[in-house]
């Protein structure tokens, strides 16, 4: 069967194509770099491309075929997941479907998330993370998820959603979806990432945190991540070309050791510290907050400590999720995580 190959990333966003699973779909987060602490989440590549248009999205520079594809044989995907889980039965795997697209943006058309939620409900040592900028949760609310799925939102201020996250759900709609999901018993993940500097960023993020915590009880929050804008150097021109009104690329940024451009460290630290202080006003004392792809010294400045390694952070996740929500087959043992590859 012939399929048109879209050369421009925007062209393929409108047409969803169902494909069979090819090769390996389960992997680790592609941003893994030893100088920056990664949370060691696993990714299940079940969707390629996204109907949304975030000006900073790396997909505009990543996908060679711009068409939107959904892997529609969930059973095959799950077989691969089960094989991985069987190889390390005492370890808790966090598995997200958001690496190359939004986990829920196409849910009304595909129903893929429903199938995955029900499949993960039967697993003992895995948590599914569905991360989205949409509000497409209605079809998920009545599912028997058994607490094994975390519905996560990528969150930003109203101003930034309007100027940089085109076609996505407004903050009001995302917050409403968070409220409904928490009400349906789902654990909630909050990703304040990418934080972006603009004139009134402090007011924006303060209001964002207040709005979100009005919708979700702190004890239903599985994890909170904080990260800042970062992109490959080649993306600069792409962003400027595709989104000429965006001011993202003109900020004070430097090239990091992971070959990504990000805000200079003093700016990042001040952003993270500000947001974390706001979060602490609302979140539970034992909440699990972490920085996405940041240096150990930045962790120290924001949290006053840092994990020993990527593997240690993975263990801290497992420990927190087991203690607070009973997730995982058994009490996590640190040594089992420290030897993981």
């Amino acid at each position: 069967m012939y399929h048109k190959k879209f050369t421009h990333f925007k062209d393929g966003k409108q047409e969803v194509r169902r494909i069979s699973k090819k090769g390996t779909a389960l992997g680790t987060c592609a941003t893994l770099n030893r100088k920056y602490l990664c949370c060691n989440v696993h990714v299940l590549r079940s969707v390629h491309n996204c109907p949304f248009e975030c000006s900073y999205c790396f997909l505009q520079n990543y996908l060679t075929d711009g068409s939107t594809k959904i892997v529609d044989d969930t059973a095959h995907l799950m077989n691969e997941v089960k094989d991985a889980l069987r190889s390390e039965p005492s370890r808790l795997f966090r598995i997200g479907t958001w690496e190359l697209g939004d986990s829920l943006a196409l849910e009304k058309k595909t129903g893929q998330a429903q199938e995955l939620i029900q499949a993960f409900a039967r697993l003992n040592n895995a948590v599914l993370e569905l991360k989205t900028k949409s509000d497409a949760v209605d079809s998920l609310l009545s599912l028997d998820h058994k607490g094994k799925t975390v519905l996560s939102w990528s969150l930003n201020t109203e101003e930034l959603i309007a100027s940089e996250e085109h076609q996505t759900a407004s903050l009001k709609r995302r917050v409403s979806a968070i409220r409904k999901s928490a009400g349906a018993g789902y654990l909630i993940g909050l990703h304040f990432d990418p934080m972006i500097l603009y004139d009134r960023w402090k007011e924006g993020y303060k209001k964002l945190v207040a709005d979100v915590f009005e919708a979700v009880p702190p004890d239903r929050i599985a994890w909170i991540s904080i990260g800042s804008l970062r992109f490959n150097p080649e993306m600069k021109k792409k962003i400027e070309n595709n989104y000429p009104d965006s001011r993202l690329t003109s900020a004070e940024m430097v090239l990091g050791d992971d070959a990504k451009i990000r805000y200079v460290k003093p700016l990042r630290v001040s952003m993270y510290q500000y947001l974390y202080n706001e979060l602490k006003k609302y979140s539970a004392d034992n909440a699990l907050a972490y920085l996405c792809m940041e240096r150990w010294d930045v962790w120290d400045r924001v949290f006053g400590c840092h994990p020993e390694s990527v593997e240690h952070l993975d263990f801290l996740f497992a420990q927190s999720l087991y203690t607070r929500f009973g997730l995982g087959a058994e009490q996590p043992k640190k040594e089992r995580y420290m030897t993981c590859t």
């Binding site: 021109k237 001011r247 004070e252 990091g256 460290k265 240096r295 010294d297």
Partner: protein, 323 residues
Amino acid sequence: MPTESIHINDVLINDSRFALRDFIFDSISEPSCHLNTFCTLGILYPIVVYRDRKGLIHLVDGRKRAEYAKQSDERLIRAMVLPETTPVTDIVSLIHCNRRNDIESSVMNKVQFLCFAISMNVPESWILKVLCGALEFKPHTEFLRECERIFHLPRELRQFCHEKKFSLKQLLNLSYYSPDILSQLIQWNTSLQLTASTLDEIASHLKDYLRATNKRIKDFLAEPEVEDIFESSLSQRDKTEKLRQLLYLKRFPTLSAVNANIRGIIKQLHLPKEIQITWDGTLENKKLDVTLNISDPQKWQPVLDTLASPDVKEAVQSILDEL
């Protein structure tokens, strides 16, 4: 191919559809060199022309010979006449072979020659597969569109890029700047000493600064520090350096301030020349490199004493706090 004598006045030279005048900057050569040869030996080789469907004769190769013949009031000139059916790809290949020195004298010219081929309606698949290879480009799908972007730069700037041997990346960077920045760069070419890399850096920082501050170029030029530079009696080279520093400061205010602070801390230590402290200027890595340059063993102990002093320890702590 046999030659024939044709009327020189029938040959379209500047108006030839194959004229490269708008596409290739000539390399600097001695025009009298050709004239001398023509005067002493005459026109040795036939020109190459193309006869179109309407019978018009377009010069393909031999502009200097044709011009000399015209100036010398010759009536006829020997020519190889390409028939109307000649594939345009063959003609473009022929021009490339005959003008290789000029075409390949700069990346700018090579890019412009590709644009010439596009203007001739040469199939893009052939350009990508054959011509790009011959010009040592490794094209991707958007490559020809990028070449067209470059070709749309103002002619004066393209000429500058040709003379200064801009790389493809530098040319492409330039093609993304707004017309007012490009126009300013052309104006600065007379008051600053610009190389390919300094122009690239100045343009990039200026563009980002204007976007970040929502200013226009005339706002920037009216800033007192900028006026000071251009109204000063500094040499072109010093003005260029001052402008670079100023733009860096405006583009990276946090980075500049922190690095200046660290430099200040180190300066206050009055370290002996045997001790050097360096750090990552991007501030990403929280670490200091302390280098000892010892050529006299007698200096070893005093250097170690300096390093172990409370002042140095305190300074190291302060710098690490900054990082």
